[in-house]
Amino acid sequence: MMSSNMRGLLRCLCDGGRLMVGVPNYEVYVQHMGQRHPERQPMNVIEFARDRQNARFGQGGRGGFRCC
């Protein structure tokens, strides 16, 4: 069994890698929706990924432009 430290590090690395390309943690999003907006249906994981992709590069997306 993996120690909880090790698992924490892996999770951190994985989250870090995904956030580098503009996709935050999905579970955190679902949790947030459940707590704050229980009346609304949260996006499923695929819709979530597409939404984040559009936010990064789409209209007004200032996240996508890389520095020199």
Binding site: C12, C14, D15, G16, G17, R18, L19, M20, V21, G22, V23, P24, N25, V28, Y29, V30, Q31, H32, M33, R36, V45, I46, F48, A49, R50, D51, R52, Q53, N54, A55, R56, F57, G58, Q59, G60, G61, R62, G63, G64, F65, R66, C67, C68
Partner: protein, 684 residues
């Protein structure tokens, strides 16, 4: 006391020793590790003491004050994020080609001026800017720099800053594309490898859209494996005559290919090409930087470049001008970069979990970026200086054959033979290394030296060289694609001020017009650079770096005004001194670029010299016909106009800023737009 500061005193001593070795090594060659050690010690001390001072005294970060990630939390844009995770996000967004190219170009002065400016600039200017702008944006719901300037300085300076940013972006895209052109011209191996990234990315896009949606890690691994196959396949292309001919492009051909690519890529759906290539370029960039750092530690190479060369007074072949002000312009991103202010006021401030984290992320990530610049300087300085100058001098100086290049470089004081030049080209699997300006190829040779010493030996130099070219080209192509999109939205926003209809970003007409305008704008400068008989990079890089440093000056000036508005004037020097320094450097450099009587340096003098010759019916080298003469004249005037425009932007914003600062100083109360914690306490 000793317990608390003892270890820091040791770090300071070690740093001072290392810096001493680096600075006083005249005549004898030193190990690159001294440079790395000096850098790390300087960063540690600066982070521990200076960034803490800024955090506690100037910005008064308050861990108890909720950040936008908490007050606006939505699980999407505003998410309280672990500080190490966010550090990675922020670093990946600020690290690009800039810190790799600038130090390579600056190595023509020797390594000493470059390393000193990278360290001092990062610690006192660059990291301060990134950190302070991050904090100011964090306290204003994560607004962008343009919006912040509009709020704190007024509508007009906001608009000026927006127009200036667009112009800077155009120049950045042109110069980045030019770096790719210079690296891939007459290089079938490079062109085939980089070309292969397009079908690979398309395949990845379809995979993540339809086969395994959202599996970013999985698709990135597949893409990476395919890319490595592409690097090896490139050798086979280069060694198969028929294929080699098909993948050998001139600079002008590559220029048109890139313009067409930029236009098409920026209107395709993002999931198809841009997003998958973004995965590849981001992860490979982080990996390659880590590999380079590791490689330098393992190989511990010796610096072959002298500490100072004779080009310190100007007259260097890579770029024109003396050390002041041009060193401070040439190395932009590794020391201070205005573009980071846009990133610090982008997605990062919305993700901060705690005000205190801003120090680690804003200041810390810039130190890391600066360290990348140090690595690039190391990679350029471990090369034989003769090879360095052969690669980075324009054809007008070194000619186009190994014999002419060897003679020219030997006469600069770096003795070499034609054999060395042809052998170096053969080692890395290229036909020529002469006049491969732009920094990327030089860095790639340096990286190939280091990596092949760790793994593979000389037989693998070609692989490592093209791997390094691929890694740079990949993220430059991503930047061109994403930048053209971002530029299009900016342009639609700007034109929308006059014609509101233009703001509809989903309408096809405005969309295509704005994309076309944006591509033609950077395409024009790219074409100018690719066909410039005088080299291109030595004209465009100063313009880019000048504008980038001016943006940094503007961001720091804005920060100074806000510090005045917060009634913390006694600490205003923290941002005011670097702002003034950047202002002095950029205005001096711009004036020299405009009005220097030396045609090698001044745009106007150059245009006048060639027009005078044309009037007299003469042809001046390197132009070969009247059309080329005309081109040089026109380029000179356009570059001068752009330069003057940047000065105008910078000066006008400074005037607005001084006015705002004086008003804030006279005002006895807090007048910053952010909600004042002090006022809140008094009211409560």
């Amino acid at each position: 006391m000793l317990k608390k500061y003892g270890v820091w005193a040791l770090v300071a001593l070690l740093g001072a020793l290392a810096l001493g070795v680096v600075a006083t090594s005249q005549g004898e060659r030193i190990n690159a590790l001294w440079m790395v050690t000096a850098a790390v010690c300087v960063y540690l001390i600066a982070y521990r003491f200076y960034s803490r001072f800024i955090a506690n005294r100037v910005m008064k970060l308050d861990g108890a004050r909720p950040t936008p990630a908490h007050t606006h939390t939505d699980g999407l844009d505003y998410v309280p994020t672990n500080k190490y995770v966010l550090f990675g996000h922020h670093f990946a967004a600020i690290a690009g080609a800039g810190p790799l190219v600038g130090p390579v170009l600056a190595a023509q002065l020797g390594y000493l001026p470059g390393i000193l400016w990278i360290l001092v600039g990062a610690v006192l200017a660059g990291a301060v800017q990134d950190f302070v702008v991050l904090v100011l944006s964090m306290r204003r719901e994560g607004r962008s720099l343009g919006e912040l300037i509009r709020e704190e300085l007024g509508m007009i300076p906001g608009l000026i800053a927006q127009i200036g940013t667009f112009a800077i972006m155009v120049i950045i895209l042109a110069v980045l594309a030019l770096i790719v052109v210079k690296a891939l011209a007459h290089s079938p191996w490079g062109a085939a490898t980089v070309g292969a990234t397009i079908p690979i990315a398309l395949g990845m896009g379809i995979y993540t859209r339809y086969l395994r949606p959202g599996k970013i890690g999985e698709v990135s691994v597949i893409g990476f494996v395919l890319l490595m196959i592409a690097v090896m396949g490139g050798r086979w292309v280069a060694e198969t005559p028929a294929l080699a001919a098909a993948f050998t492009f001139t600079e002008v051909q590559l220029c048109w290919l890139l313009i067409g690519y930029g236009a098409i890529a920026s209107v395709l759906p993002v999931w198809l090409l841009l997003a998958p290539r973004d995965y590849l370029s981001t992860f490979i960039k982080i990996g390659a930087i880590a590999l380079l750092a590791l490689g330098v530690m393992i190989v511990r190479p010796t610096l072959e470049m002298p500490a100072l060369t004779r080009f310190i007074d100007g007259g260097g072949p890579v770029w024109a001008g003396p050390v002041f002000p041009f060193l401070f312009i040439t190395i932009a991103c590794g020391a201070v970069s205005g573009f980071h202010a846009l990133i610090s006021s982008g997605t990062t401030p919305k993700l901060l979990n705690n005000e205190g984290d801003a120090r680690f992320i804003g200041y810390g990530a810039m130190l890391m970026e600066s360290f990348v610049a140090v690595m690039a300087l190391v990679a350029a300085s471990i090369l034989d200086p003769a090879v360095y100058f052969t690669m980075n001098s324009p054809a007008a100086v070194v000619g186009t054959t190994a014999e002419s290049a060897a003679a020219a470089v030997t006469s600069m004081g770096f003795a070499t033979t034609p054999d060395v030049i042809t052998q170096t080209a053969a080692d890395i699997g290229e036909t020529t290394i002469i006049s491969r300006a732009g920094g990327a190829p030089t860095l790639a040779v340096g990286m190939a030296h280091i990596f092949s010493n760790v793994a593979g030996g000389k037989a693998w130099m070609g692989f490592w060289y093209h791997f390094a070219i691929l890694f740079e080209a990949l993220f430059i192509l991503t930047a061109i694609d994403a930048g053209t999109r971002a530029g299009r939205f900016m342009l639609q926003d700007l034109i929308g001020v006059a014609i509101p209809k233009f703001r509809q970003t989903s309408a096809l007409g405005p969309n295509l017009i704005a994309t076309g305008l944006c591509v033609s704008a950077w395409g024009y400068f790219l074409y100018q650079g690719a066909t410039d008989p005088l080299g291109g990079v030595n004209t465009l890089w100063p313009l880019f770096a000048l504008s980038n440093q001016m943006l940094a000056g503007i961001a720091l000036t804005f920060a100074t005004v806000v510090i005045f508005k917060m009634k913390r004037e006694r600490f205003a020097y923290v941002t005011l001194v670097p702002a003034l320094w950047l202002f002095v450097c950029t205005i001096t450099a711009a004036m020299m670029k405009l009005f220097s009587p030396d045609p090698g340096l001044g745009f106007i003098a150059q245009a006048r010299k060639y027009s005078a010759a044309m009037d007299a019916g003469q042809l001046l080298a390197p132009a070969k016909n009247v059309a080329e003469m005309n081109k040089i004249v026109m380029n000179g005037w356009i570059d001068a106009g752009l330069c003057a425009f940047f000065v105008l932007v910078s000066v006008s914003i400074s005037i607005f800023a001084i006015r705002a600062a004086v008003l804030a100083h006279r005002n006895k109360n807090w007048s910053a737009r952010e909600y004042s914690p002090v006022l809140e306490a008094e009211a409560g």
